[in-house]
Amino acid sequence: MNKRNDVDLLVEQFIVEEKSIEHNPFLSTRVMAVLDNKKQQNVKRLSPVLRAAIVSFGFAAAVFVGFAAGNLYNTEDKKAEVVLVNDDAMEHFAFYKDIENE
């Protein structure tokens, strides 16, 4: 009977000692910090998608600007110059007249 009580007492003593061990007082802070980090990582995970979207947008913008710049080119006022460049065309005497009148 005594032996049984001694064993029970030893077990009780062990439990009391383990129960007296206190956890880190910053445990909740640590948990919240980990959760915050995970949240930020989730945002970072989206970044490749965002990066691809930004690259695609940039490429589309470059193409659009290219077309727009191309359309700005006006050939109407360049006839005289074209005549000068093209050797097969008739001489543009008005041009020489203009030069003479200078």
């Binding site: 030893l10 003593q13 062990f14 061990i21 995970k38």
Partner: protein, 182 residues
């Protein structure tokens, strides 16, 4: 604020309210985990994991049982799975210096006997079958009622009583050698 209200706030994006839940239950979870693992550092790590897992699956918490019951279940599963992993890896480490022995004037022999006694108790508890160990830890460490333990382990109250009695008998058998008759 009630648990249900805090959970609702967390689910609607107010993460800070989760800290209140952590603060409210961290000691209970830690005590349960240390009762299973018997190591402060491991218990702190698992307690942290328990709250992270609980946060991540909070949307699946239906509210049929109390939040604490749900948390105890996560803690038990995490601890048991940790022990199995540790066992598989063969990382059973002697936990020297684990016990916080108070500075008392004791003879070296008495101190040695006490240490070995505690070591044997730890081994004896660890040697219990999982269900007996869980029922024993929740009853003795957390001082939960049979009804609460039954709800956590999802068994009947009678089964809890039987498990605790068997655990005590097994512990007495295992530790009988500590107190040899002269």
């Amino acid at each position: 604020m009630q648990d249900a209200e805090l959970i609702q706030n967390v689910l609607s994006g107010n993460q800070k309210d989760y800290e209140q839940l952590v603060k409210k239950y961290q000691t209970n979870v830690f005590r349960t985990v240390i009762g299973i693992l018997h190591n402060k550092e491991d218990a702190e790590e698992i307690t942290q994991d328990v709250f992270i897992k609980a946060y991540q699956s909070l949307s699946s918490f239906s509210g049929k049982s109390a939040f604490s019951t749900w948390l105890y279940r996560i803690a038990i599963n995490a601890s048991i799975s940790y022990l199995r992993k540790k066992k598989r890896r063969g990382l059973w480490v002697e936990l020297t210096g684990f016990f916080q022995i108070q500075a008392k004037e004791k003879s070296a022999e008495a101190e040695l006997t006490e240490k070995s006694g505690q070591h044997l108790v730890r081994q004896a508890i660890d040697g219990l079958p999982d269900k007996q160990k869980l029922a024993f830890v929740l009853t003795k460490y957390e001082e939960l009622s049979q009804r609460q333990v039954a709800e956590i382990l999802q068994i009947t109250e009678g089964a809890v009583e039987q498990l605790v009695v068997r655990a005590k008998v097994n512990l007495r058998k295992k530790l009988a050698g500590v107190f040899r008759e002269p």
